[in-house]
Symmetry: C2
Subunit: 201 residues, 2 copies
Amino acid sequence: MAKIKSTKNGTKKEIIVETAARLFHEKGFSATSMRDLAEQVGVEAASLYNHIRSKSELLQEICFKVANEFTVNIEQVDTIHQYAIEKVEALLRFHIKQMIYRYENVYVSDREWKHLTDPYLSDYQHQRRVYRKRFATIIEEGIKKNEIKQMDAPTAVLIMLHAVSGIESWHRSRKKISAELLEENMVMILVEGLKSSTAFK
Amino acid sequence: MAKIKSTKNGTKKEIIVETAARLFHEKGFSATSMRDLAEQVGVEAASLYNHIRSKSELLQEICFKVANEFTVNIEQVDTIHQYAIEKVEALLRFHIKQMIYRYENVYVSDREWKHLTDPYLSDYQHQRRVYRKRFATIIEEGIKKNEIKQMDAPTAVLIMLHAVSGIESWHRSRKKISAELLEENMVMILVEGLKSSTAFK
DNA sequence: GCACTTAACTAACGACCGTTAGTTTGTGTT
DNA sequence: AACACAAACTAACGGTCGTTAGTTAAGTGC
């Protein structure tokens, strides 16, 4: 068994991290034991340590993977689009898509980051703060150009970021509307709530 | 020590539950030990059991206390107001105020209810489902009367309920805007996003 | 075929978990 | 002064936690 790739779905470590994300989502970080995780992976608990350094490392991988995706995205969005309101919509749509298609990872990074330990905890908090700040700056810019009505930008950011986490309920609900319809409804409600009523555009 | 009331802030059990809410908020239910809790209350862990039956009971008290407050409120709101959009605004304002002034309890009931065990888990999920359903019905009613624009009502509910949980970030942020300003901004963004553009009212 | 590496295993460590049993302490009532 | 009793204490229970040590099996490259 000297293969570094075990199945076609990436390395064993990647499998472990994905399984951990699922369990952390289902039961929470603290309530998930390494023995739970091992069982789901199909291995003894001690064997996990051939692939990972610690339980904390699993949470770190999940949180920073997700955080980086958002950071990379806002970079792109900020350069591609011209109007602030377009940027906001693009950011919102990305959040929605991540919440739909990479649900477990995003959920864990949103809800369980508190169990990170320093220095990772501080790094993570910093990265999120910077992201929210940048998001707020885009909204400020939109307000100045009269694309977006007068409002407290950080509050608008907070509403958007948390509104999308409501997709959690969508995932849990028995009879769901389609992902596309969900996205369009969310964008409509949230983006229309921002637009200036006297917008020229 | 034969007093049933220990301080002026209610019974010892109430103190324990409030302290538990604070710790469950800070560290999560699973990561909070009875010894942690005891230390914060100023007592040995075993002594807690003179006042409570189990750790689970603490979570139950918190979750159902909060859930009942929302249930009672929607009852009142539904009878007091006439227009659907007014009902929605009243519900939203109540959620915001609860999130500001009873933050820890609401947060715990929102985030840690998964650690309830049956039959409490099922009861809680049912109560929340009924509440959301009722909220959605009010919005449907508003759509029918053209107070609220065409949209998927459950999605609107999900956005509102989760948007207010963003007040978590407000609590954590260093320089906050005032509670009043926060409420007005949130109401503006969210309620304006719902209103029909051809509303007669 | 032999060395090397990877990844599984069993066994166990010390720490901490929620909770119970049994006892002591202190206070208000008679 | 004696009693009742709430509420604190100490000690310990069986269990589970994350993790380490040491070993074994199996595939790779010479």
